[in-house]
């Protein structure tokens, strides 16, 4: 019998297709896991950015991972409310993002960027906070493009949402 804990173990293997350094649990998109009496698993996920094309891929990857592990039936539900926030990225997720070269998001409580001020973002390469945002829009919907003035490396920042 497949248990909820087993499903969660399996979800550990489902990576964010655009940022394969972290999995869907660390990204904080999995809102609920239910296992019905007949063994069918229902996984509820919430989209990060509204138009993020990775969401469809994530849903397909979750299905594939669970079906291959012997779960008899899988349904992935999409839930809009409550809206996802970068605060749901776990501490492990944030650490992995940094190791991967992406500056993790600041706390939404500290959402200075939207009030006209720039947040203080540390360079994931050298740790310097002498950094500057080049563009609020990066290679994916969730990232902004930054540059470090000390080591001169450009880097992505997972922007606060």
């Amino acid at each position: 019998m497949i248990t909820k804990d087993r499903i969660l173990e399996l979800l550990d293997y489902v990576k964010d297709p655009e940022i394969p350094a972290i999995n869907v649990l660390e990204l904080g998109v999995v809102r609920q896991v239910e296992v019905e009496a007949d063994g069918k698993a229902i996984v509820t996920i919430t989209p990060t950015y509204t138009g993020c094309p990775a969401m469809d891929v994530m849903a397909a990857d979750i299905k594939k991972e669970l079906l291959e592990a012997g779960v008899p039936a899988v349904e992935v539900k999409m839930s809009l409310s409550p809206a996802w926030t970068t605060d749901w990225i776990t501490e492990t997720g944030k650490r992995k993002l940094k190791e991967y070269g992406i500056a993790p998001p600041e706390k939404t409580a500290d959402i200075r960027a939207l009030k006209g001020e720039q947040p203080v973002v540390a360079c994931p390469q050298c740790g310097s906070t002498n950094t500057v945002m080049l563009s609020a829009f990066g290679s994916t919907a969730c990232k902004a493009l930054w540059k470090c003035n000390d080591c001169l490396e450009p880097f992505d920042q997972f922007k606060c949402l």
Binding site: P47, T50, G51, C52, S81
Partner: protein, 252 residues
């Protein structure tokens, strides 16, 4: 009009604005003036289309005739689209593209904020998702408008010209017909005079910093919400809908 028809129409209006603006922004893909802006505009297009998809899906459910997001986007004719005339205006130079988005963003953010409190739970949920992205949009278009207005003589001239050209289409954003007024009473839609006040505050603040002049509120080109459009919408639809019209049901 039944309550169901009204909710369908109201939802469609929001969705059509976002889809058509998204299509316009996507026309910049590969043609942006600098790489960062090429990426910024396509990101914004993605945000808009994401919100549009949620709204179309919901509109289809409300209508209850089995139309999904694709059927609503690809299989309706020009007169059935209820977007504002503003969003269908051509990209023009970069000043026109930025001003068009700025006018829309200054309306869209307070609208989304207000809709998070809508009596309709699904509209509220979609808005709660969009509102956070809309903050980034206002910031983006404001920053550029200030840079253009308070930039060189040439960039100032072009920004003012774009503002003067597009201002007449901004009135379409605030048209409240019977459908809308019923929804204000029911707590589903916000009163657009309140949204207009927030719009005015943003416009005045940004234009002051950009050293640009706010055009006078003269004749406003309205009618989009009733399906009356400028000549541009037909061309957009011809391109956007071609594949689904030529190969019905085609999928990736």
């Amino acid at each position: 009009m039944s309550q169901q028809d009204a909710l369908f129409t109201y939802t469609l209006r929001q969705a059509d604005d976002l889809l058509i603006l998204s299509h316009r922004l996507s026309e910049w893909c590969g043609h942006g003036p600098v790489l960062e802006e090429d990426i910024a505009l396509t990101n914004r297009a993605l945000d808009h289309i994401g919100e549009a998809r949620n709204l179309y899906t919901y509109a289809g459910q409300v209508e209850g005739k089995g139309r999904d997001e694709d059927a609503l986007a690809y299989l309706r004719n020009e007169r059935q689209f209820v977007n504002t005339k503003l969003v269908e205006q051509p990209n023009g130079d970069y000043a026109h593209t930025i001003v068009r988005s700025f006018l829309f963003d200054a309306y869209h953010l307070p609208l989304a904020e207000a809709l998070t409190k809508s009596a309709d739970a699904q509209l509220a949920a979609i808005a709660a998702k969009a509102v956070k992205e809309a903050q980034y949009h206002v910031k983006h278009s404001s920053d550029w408008l200030i840079r253009f207005g308070d930039g060189t003589e040439e960039s100032h001239r072009r920004a003012q010209e774009a503002l003067d050209n597009l201002w007449t289409y901004s009135g379409d954003l605030f048209v409240m017909d019977a459908v809308h007024q019923d929804f204000v009473k029911a707590g589903i839609a916000p009163d657009l005079t309140k949204i207009k006040a927030a719009f005015d505050a943003t416009v005045d603040r940004v234009l002051a910093e950009a050293t640009l002049k706010r055009p006078a509120d003269g004749f406003m080109a309205t009618g989009g919400r009733q399906g009356k459009h400028s000549e541009h919408l037909g061309f957009i639809l011809a391109e956007m809908q071609y594949l689904q019209r030529a190969y019905p049901g085609a999928e990736w």
